[in-house]
């Protein structure tokens, strides 16, 4: 079975963002980059699937971004993936979800796949679009927010999270599965895994290699400005006996905040 995982490199969750002077990007200097946490579930599920299906199953990791994303591909290889593809092209510098999905889909097609795993969203942009857009580009079913999966060589059953419950879905392969927390516990890269990863094949593809023109990846969305949202907080901190603090709080919630 040919298994593809899409991974993104994102700032670590503790990152305190600083915005560039043109207000269009984040200063990268002090950011610590890690594998997008949801993509760890995707890599884990890909490896589990390979182990389950066996035979000559392979896991190919695909990532798009600047040279630093190679680290994240290597992390996935160290966890146990077989090969990596790094998509890099100046025309993708301001790629939005549309452009990213077109390029990722082309790379997945070139690599060949029966199933594609990805995270439910990347924690930097929080757009949660690339998954569905890749599936649409490839004309395959998508199972988003998957929390349980039972996959065979030809199809599978999944549970996905919706408001107030779960949906149970049956689907044929090929398909795209976006992974939600709870699906599995991602493994760590072992030291031998890290050593082995250094020797695993990692190809670099530009747009031409993917058979795409710059026009095919023209962004549809433009970021005009990045801002830090205002937090106007009242900051009323009550101390003392509950016989005093509690009635005071309730009064404030009714009369000042008007939420009760």
């Amino acid at each position: 079975m040919k298994i593809v995982v899409l991974v993104k490199q994102t700032p670590d969750t503790e990152t305190k963002p600083k915005i560039t002077a043109d207000k269009k990007r984040l200063e990268e200097g002090e950011i610590k980059f890690v594998m997008n946490p949801y993509d760890e579930f995707a890599v884990e599920e890909a490896l589990k699937t390979k182990e389950k299906i066996g035979g000559d199953s392979t896991v190919t990791v695909i990532s798009l971004g600047p040279d630093r994303v190679v680290e994240t591909i290597r992390t996935a290889l160290a966890m146990g993936a077989d090969t990596g593809i790094h998509i890099s092209d100046p025309a993708l510098d301001s790629a939005d979800s549309y452009a990213t999905a077109v390029a990722l889909a082309a790379a997945a097609k070139k690599a060949g796949f029966d199933v594609i795993f990805c995270g439910k969203q990347a924690i930097d942009g929080d757009f949660a679009q690339v998954n569905s857009r890749v599936a649409e580009t490839l004309d395959i079913p998508q199972i988003n927010l998957t929390t349980k999966l039972d996959l065979s060589a030809t199809g599978g059953k999944a549970e996905r999270r919706i408001e107030g419950g779960e949906e149970l879905i049956e689907f044929p392969l090929p398909a795209l599965i976006s992974c939600e927390k709870g699906l599995n516990e991602p493994r760590y890269a072992s030291l031998p895994g890290i050593m082995k990863a250094k020797k695993k094949p990692l190809d670099k593809h530009d747009l031409a290699a993917l058979g795409l023109s710059a026009d095919a990846v023209k962004p549809r969305l433009q970021i005009q400005e990045i801002r830090i949202p205002e937090q106007k907080r009242r900051g009323v901190k009550l101390t003392g006996e509950v016989t005093e603090t509690v009635p005071k709080l309730v009064k404030l919630l009714r009369e000042e905040a008007k939420v009760i």
Partner: protein, 330 residues
């Protein structure tokens, strides 16, 4: 007139229109007024024809209905195809969906099919220089993007629940038209076979207007009962921090935060929650935040509007009584 119109993808479950649909009608109506177009809705489901006209009360002029057994349960393929048909028919300049599980799933696939841009999870929408401008949180709410869709049409946006007001329900019935949706149930590949409701009939956290949330300090699953009691009094849904979930005090479905749910209530009450950045990622956009924590220096105070520095086991029972007293007065 085409291109000026705003199309909303209304949501229903089991034939009942969901609140997000009215929020869509509210902001959709405002945008249509600015573009000089009409507010049109598409309603997809089985046995939903009857509910369609009532969307008019909220300002929708016309409802296209895709009704049939193929839409009994949500499927990406069926619903996206029907929504795309509605877009083809209406030729709107703007399409709005909820940033709900359904709306997010549908809108991204629809946007790719139409080769256009999508503003996910909008918390602000306006028409600026004739174009839709969206404000959306990113990096777990630490930053906001101001975005536009410069050329491609329609401009699609999904809206975060509980942000946009529900308009007063005083409009005339909408005209209802059957949509020729062209969906063949037999051709849908990924099929929903069952929808399982999680225990408790309370509003889901992502849609709840009031949330009572407990942290590690609750110390035991049984102690969440006081959270439930308080929630019952004020009509809230109960959430939890990751520490409470990891300690087995609450199921993961209750987790709020970066790896849990993103919530946006009018009132969030956090009990014994330190306010770690990953927790804030899920609740920082709550309109009013109340903390109860014995540590006066806990990070939660940096974003709390109100709070009590004290033991939650002392505060909660007193709070339940005080709310009961207040609500009995009306």
């Amino acid at each position: 007139m085409a291109e000026k119109d705003v199309l909303i993808v209304a949501e229903q479950r089991g034939g009942t229109i969901r609140k997000i649909s009215y929020e869509l009608a509210g902001i959709g109506g405002q945008l249509a007024q600015k573009t000089g177009g009409e507010l049109v809705a598409v309603l997809i489901g089985e046995g939903v024809q009857g509910a369609a006209a009532s969307l008019g009360k909220y300002g929708v002029k016309k409802v296209l209905v895709a009704d049939g057994p193929a839409f009994k349960l949500y499927s990406t393929e069926g619903y996206v195809t029907a929504a795309a048909k509605a877009v083809e028919k209406v030729q709107p300049g703007i399409v709005l969906t909820g940033a709900s599980a359904l709306g997010r799933d549908l809108s991204a696939r629809l946007a790719q099919r139409l080769k256009t841009g999508l503003v996910t999870d909008s918390v602000g929408l306006d028409i600026v220089d004739g174009k839709l401008q969206g404000i959306r949180p990113a990096l777990s709410g630490k930053i906001q993007h101001v975005v536009t869709i410069p050329e491609s049409r329609p401009q699609i946006a999904s809206i975060r629940p509980n942000v946009f007001n529900v308009p007063e329900a005083n409009g005339p019935d909408a005209s209802v038209e059957t949509l020729d949706h062209g969906v063949d149930a037999g051709k849908i590949r990924a099929k929903v076979t069952e929808v399982r409701a999680s225990a408790g009939a309370k509003a889901d956290l992502t849609e709840a207007e009031r949330i009572v949330s407990g942290g590690r300090a609750l110390k035991a699953a049984e102690n969440f009962k006081i959270m439930n009691d308080l929630a019952d009094v004020i009509g809230a849904t109960v959430g939890a921090s990751r520490a409470a979930v990891d300690s087995g005090y609450a199921p993961h479905a209750m987790q709020i935060g970066q790896t849990g749910k993103v919530v946006n209530p009018t009132l969030y009450l956090g009990f014994g929650i330190s306010g770690a950045i990953q927790h804030l990622a899920g609740m920082r956009t709550s309109k009013v935040i109340v903390a109860v924590n014995k540590d006066p220096d806990a990070p939660i105070w940096q974003i709390a509007d109100y709070g009590i520095v004290d033991d939650l086991f002392k505060v909660t029972p007193a709070l339940i009584e005080e709310f009961k007293k207040l609500l009995a007065q009306g």
